[in-house]
Symmetry: C2
Subunit: 167 residues, 2 copies
């Protein structure tokens, strides 16, 4: 790999270039964006180490609903319920929308108390059936079928922020 011998930009601190307009989204705009999206990235943290996985969700009433098989993500969120969800539309580095949620993990266990919430999650997640066909929840890892028990959860939305950039 060659380094440009006369490289001065953007190593210098001043330059003239086309502007990219970045503006904040209102909470209403952020919620509208979350309502339309299904794919996001879920971040959790343990002992200062963040961990990100892609995940699919459905929004309803100040919460994002999802489910997962057991694994590292669930273990970490059980030990620290502070999570972050990021979802975006990125066309180019100059044209994008990104919404970030700071939220709290809340499990929806398979008990009578949470049955209504689990049904709600399931119904929401079914609204785009092509994304939620049964195959999603039956996986084979290392040649062995993974446990089929699912963990349903929701992320209670706390702070939400969003930005949109335009060339």
């Amino acid at each position: 790999m060659g380094f440009p011998a006369n490289c001065t930009f953007p190593l210098t601190k001043t330059h003239t270039a086309e502007a990219m307009l970045v503006h904040d989204l209102t909470r209403h705009d952020c919620i509208e964006f979350l309502t339309r999206k299904r794919l996001g990235r879920l971040g959790c943290a343990r002992d200062g180490q963040p961990y990100i996985t892609p995940f699919f969700f459905a929004f309803e009433a100040d919460a994002l609903y999802s489910f997962s098989t057991h694994g590292q993500k669930i273990a970490w969120m059980r030990s620290n319920p502070l999570v972050c969800v990021e979802t975006d539309d990125i066309e180019t580095p100059q044209k994008w929308t990104s919404v970030v949620v700071f939220g709290r993990y809340e499990e929806l266990p398979d008990t009578p108390e949470f049955e209504a919430s689990r049904r709600s999650a399931y119904a929401l997640l079914q609204q785009r059936p092509q994304w939620w066909e049964p195959g999603y929840v039956r996986t084979v890892l290392h040649g062995a079928e993974r446990p089929l028990e699912l963990v349903y959860f929701r992320i209670q939305i706390g702070a939400v922020s969003g930005h949109r950039a335009m060339p």
Copy 2:
């Protein structure tokens, strides 16, 4: 929103469904994937709260190079250098590849000591010029131009893991 009255799947724990094969990627496969990708999500954490932003990067040796204007992300990574980078190709919930890096934030300050690293970062980031045109680094936020001073950094890759799912 209606809840299905007779909804039993996937609320039940057993079912028969098509399998999705999920297999681990080798470290070599993960690195090859990182080499091809430019867009990822960068996670940092402060006081147990994770924070995710989309970011663009370039891989070389055992590090991911990038830059950013000043902001929350940089402040958090300065206070806690433990970060996570996730990058993926997601076609459907049944067909995807995801690679996760646990790494350490390392700033490349504008000093003689780091000039070579900054040149390296710049050259790498220029390899797909359509993603790195100057407009990216000049932004207008809240009607005021943001400071143009850029923070160059790299993520030193520690653990890396990857999974690929196929229907």
